[in-house]
Amino acid sequence: MRRRKGSLVTEVLVWVIVVVAILWVLFPFYWTVITSFKKPADVFRLSSIPWLQFTPTLSNWQTEFTQRGPEILRGITNSIIIAVFASLLAVALGTFAGYGLARYRYVKWRNQSMAFWFLSQRFLPPAATVIPFFLLMKSFGLLDTRTALILVNTTFAMPFAVLIMKDMFRELPVELEEAALVDGCSRFEAFWRIALPLAAPALVATVIICFSFAWNEFLFALVLTYKKATPMTIIIAGTEHTQGVQFWYVSTRLLLAILPPTLLALTVQRYIVRGLTMGAVKG
């Protein structure tokens, strides 16, 4: 199938499908971008080609950054801090556990049961833990703090990091570490000096994917924060309620919320399939 040289008709058909798929994916992004450069009147007249059908204006962005600047800045800062700390923490814990699962055989709890235990977190609905989490954070005085969201997002991303890193370490040749042990390295040094640098690209990719998860998280942010610690996902949710259908403002915030993880993810294409299937399919 793959090798067969298609006729001209199939060739053309394939490219038509490819183009339609790309337009289907890109159009909403395009629409958001142009809406953020439109004057209100142009938004409701429906116009889609800049300069021809409407004159682009920077005024929405100016208003957003001057009048609502502090709010947006706070949202972005919170999102970055939460996502960076949560992803680093998750990947740190996940790397250790992944290495352990790949290189040791555990007797009391078998490796497989531990792996399943981590895997099962992927199937856990957030709704099941949001209520106890809210009550716990309330009693610890952690409501509306970034700490609470860092804890939550680490919890969500960590099992993912464990399974991906386990896969990555398993694919490294064990001989290198054995040689290091023979040369007098301790077990931990063999991990730290040999295995970890070799797994570095995978490690970075895992951090990026965990970063996107944490950046996009919404339910817990909605429940656990209300003012000081609100990330971007909540800031955009707030716009709609207070501003009605002011699409020209909404779109600027949408872009600020959407772009960082979407662009970052373009750099980890090699690891996406593994990442999305918890290692069940190798891409």
């Binding site: 090798r3 106890p132 996107s212 919404f218 993810a265 373009l266 299937t277």
Partner: protein, 287 residues
């Protein structure tokens, strides 16, 4: 290295295990206790036995949300998998430039679902929104996307399909690409029908991957909250409230914590069944 059983490998796994115990298992146990309790004004006020669980059966709003959730899951899983499979077959050929396009197609996966909901509000806007204008050009009337229960359901499904079709696509493409050319070459000798090759060779080899996609899609669809919250706020009325949405409203807006926890356990049971199926299928991978 794996042979040295009694070495101190615990150092590596213990922190992660403790973390899960503290931030997942403990909250789950706690919430199980709440689900068995009577809760008044956000405070536990005595043991309620299975009352909260039994209440679900008599609650027509619960059945409504369950029905919507099931419709959503069925639609979203089927459509994303089918379109994803179609696209994967199209992209599974040696042509220049396809890799770059493949990357573009994965972009929706990493956009915040809540943002997509608001983006949907713009796209589905009834007066002069781009989708309705397009439909007008084709000669169809104005579609009440967000004010009619049926259309609102479709709108939510479409946003979800937009976001998750790339998921099915990229995983199935990886599955297709792992099938070796020799198999096809051998098949071409026996039959010349593309459909026969697909039906009797591609599909059986692809079926484990297809299973993975369907199971993971199902779990994610059952958990959906962000898109209905931002696109329709569960409306019009309560037509598009999902289970998670109802749990959120009951538990964290009305503070009916016991009942919400019981429903959360119901949802947990569904997703855990899918999780067990997944694990049984891929046991070897996780040893």
């Amino acid at each position: 290295m794996k042979r040295k059983v009694r070495e101190k490998g615990n150092v590596f796994v213990v922190p992660a295990i403790l973390w899960v115990l503290a931030f997942t298992i403990f909250p789950l146990v706690y919430s199980f206790r709440i689900s068995l309790s009577k809760v008044l004004y956000g405070k536990i006020a005595g043991f309620a036995g299975a009352a909260n669980y039994l209440r679900m059966f008599g609650d027509y709003r619960f059945w409504g949300t369950l029905r919507f959730t099931l419709i959503f899951v069925a639609f979203s899983v089927c459509v994303t998998t089918l379109i994803g499979l179609g696209l994967a077959i199209v992209f599974n050929r040696k042509m220049k430039g396809l890799r770059a396009f493949r990357s573009i197609l994965t972009m929706p996966l990493f956009t915040a679902p809540v943002a997509l909901g608001y983006l949907g509000v713009m796209m589905f806007y009834e007066e002069n929104g781009p989708i309705n204008v397009l439909l007008k050009y084709i000669g169809l009337g104005k579609v009440p996307w967000l004010s009619h229960p049926l259309w609102a359901t479709l709108a939510i499904c479409l946003v979800d399909v937009w976001q998750w079709t790339p998921f099915a696509f990229i995983i199935l493409l990886a599955g297709l690409q792992s099938i070796s050319d020799e198999i096809y070459e051998a098949a071409v000798i026996d039959t010349s029908s593309g459909w026969a090759i697909f039906r009797h060779i591609t599909l059986p080899i692809l079926s484990p991957v297809l299973g993975t996609v369907i199971m993971l899609r199902m779990v994610d669809a059952f958990k959906v909250f962000d898109i209905p919250f931002s696109l329709t706020s569960g409306g019009p009325g309560t037509a598009t409230r999902t289970l998670t949405f109802y749990i959120y409203t009951q538990g964290l807006r009305n503070f009916d914590l016991g009942y919400a926890s019981a429903m959360a356990y119901f949802l947990l049971a569904i997703t855990m069944v899918i999780g067990l199926l997944f694990f049984r299928r891929y046991r070897e991978i996780y040893e």
